[in-house]
Symmetry: C2
Subunit: 325 residues, 2 copies
Amino acid sequence: MTERKAWVTGASGFFGGVMVRLLARAGWHVIGFAQQPDRAFALGAHYTIGGDITLAGTLSALRDHGCPDLVFHAAGGSHVGCADVDPIKDFRRTVHSTAELLHGLGMGGAVDAHIVYPSSAAVYGVQPPGPIAVAAATRPVSHYGWHKLGAELQCRQAVERYELSITAVRFFSLYGEGLRKQLFWELAERLRKGDDRLELAGTGEETRDYLHVEDAAALILALPRPSKGTLALVNGGSATETTIAAAVTAFQRALGTAVPVTFTGVVRPYDPRHLCADMSGVNILGTQWNEPRPLEAGLLDYTDWLRVNSGVTDDGTGKPGTPTA
Amino acid sequence: MTERKAWVTGASGFFGGVMVRLLARAGWHVIGFAQQPDRAFALGAHYTIGGDITLAGTLSALRDHGCPDLVFHAAGGSHVGCADVDPIKDFRRTVHSTAELLHGLGMGGAVDAHIVYPSSAAVYGVQPPGPIAVAAATRPVSHYGWHKLGAELQCRQAVERYELSITAVRFFSLYGEGLRKQLFWELAERLRKGDDRLELAGTGEETRDYLHVEDAAALILALPRPSKGTLALVNGGSATETTIAAAVTAFQRALGTAVPVTFTGVVRPYDPRHLCADMSGVNILGTQWNEPRPLEAGLLDYTDWLRVNSGVTDDGTGKPGTPTA
């Protein structure tokens, strides 16, 4: 069997890094487009390309390495708060980079590749309670969410104009090894610094749909390639709704702490109260995807990593580094 | 009465230039953002700002000049063919420039301005016969059309996040003084060079909705400002369907020529067969807009200009220049 070839952009980031590691382990030949090429190498990439993603660079890579079977475009802004502080930077990283990559793949005739774009549930914004289907109206709240929607528009343009095959997966709350932000990371930081009580915003009754990043990666590998000229939209979640209070309890149990938790009751106006993926579309597509691990199991894995890495600066090697001051 | 203040981007271009001229004539204080500041000055701008549109430059202009009453954002790619040759350039000019301007206006708190974005009927792509309403599904064909849709998405983002008031006007086929491309310009060029017969692509039975650029400008000035945080979508057309064959006949009559015309019958696959604006939305908005001039009348004006300017290079002064070789 011919060796399967994958391109991963954002290959030194959280999700891209996990994809590089899993693909390499599964025998794929992996080319990583990375801001930190050393880190992508350490994770298992066979070849890395540094710097910004450009149309010309994409064409060169197609010429030098041929058309890949899979392109996982994880490069882009990855922080809701940072996007609000500097929306133009987030626009460049998310919308513009997607335009450069897809025009390059399109002009280079990469019609045999399955291009997977990790979009976000942030495109939905505030929705009525209950599972959210991909057919729901998109009305983002954060600039991050708007730019994910802008990148999806680039995907629509590319399939219509270049006959590419793209799946955009709207991921809900991903977590796992390598994630240095969001609820669990912040809890770990506060516990490491010796906080003996945890006060959190909101009521604790808000819900999220947590998906371990390795299950997210498995979903991507299980997705069938859409026919040429088609953009498939899929949700990426566990279809399980967990309250923040329950998530914090599960996290402390996995970490072996039992610090008292209180909620301020102050609800941030733009924070969705409830987020849960309707995953029925995945079955319709005929995906061979196993049931994702429950949050409790996934947190055992993540807390193993956090015990070593909480308070540790990411030095780009993918290995534990220097504790932060 | 206080002097009304307008900003016009793309102030040395076709549509932006006409707006500068008409606004200045009507007593507005006009600031032109222009690639060719001399030309914007010649057209009547009181102050010009050169170079690319940036968030920082927009904030500076708000600080220096205060919040304008009207912002007409005409800067952007303006050529379907050029956008297909270099889509990234068109993306930068259309989508990215809109992002920079709107984030600047939003962060600068320009909530009292009416921002008008000249979008395009190209966002509709190929539609069933009959007038096209703004509620029609958007499925662009050209990269130019996709990028106009991307710029509209930036408008949606800006009204939701910054409480700005924006009207996006989807203009159909604009024509008039200053337009150096498209059907009438190309016909004038061929007739000037002495062609004694005109062979044109298509069947001649395709239809377009022609609107004189000064009527387009009048429409913009008649539009009510939407309430804060609202994006109004409006069509910009005459609501009159004209066949290409009839348009060519009217053009020759206005120019005083009568060269035989044939059509190849070869239909370009992505060329919409029929384009006509449903303008009922404009009445709903309570717009004080007079009936636009018929094509025959508008062409008398345009051919007056073409007699002087056909074959003449645009030297940026807005005055007749050197005939092209």
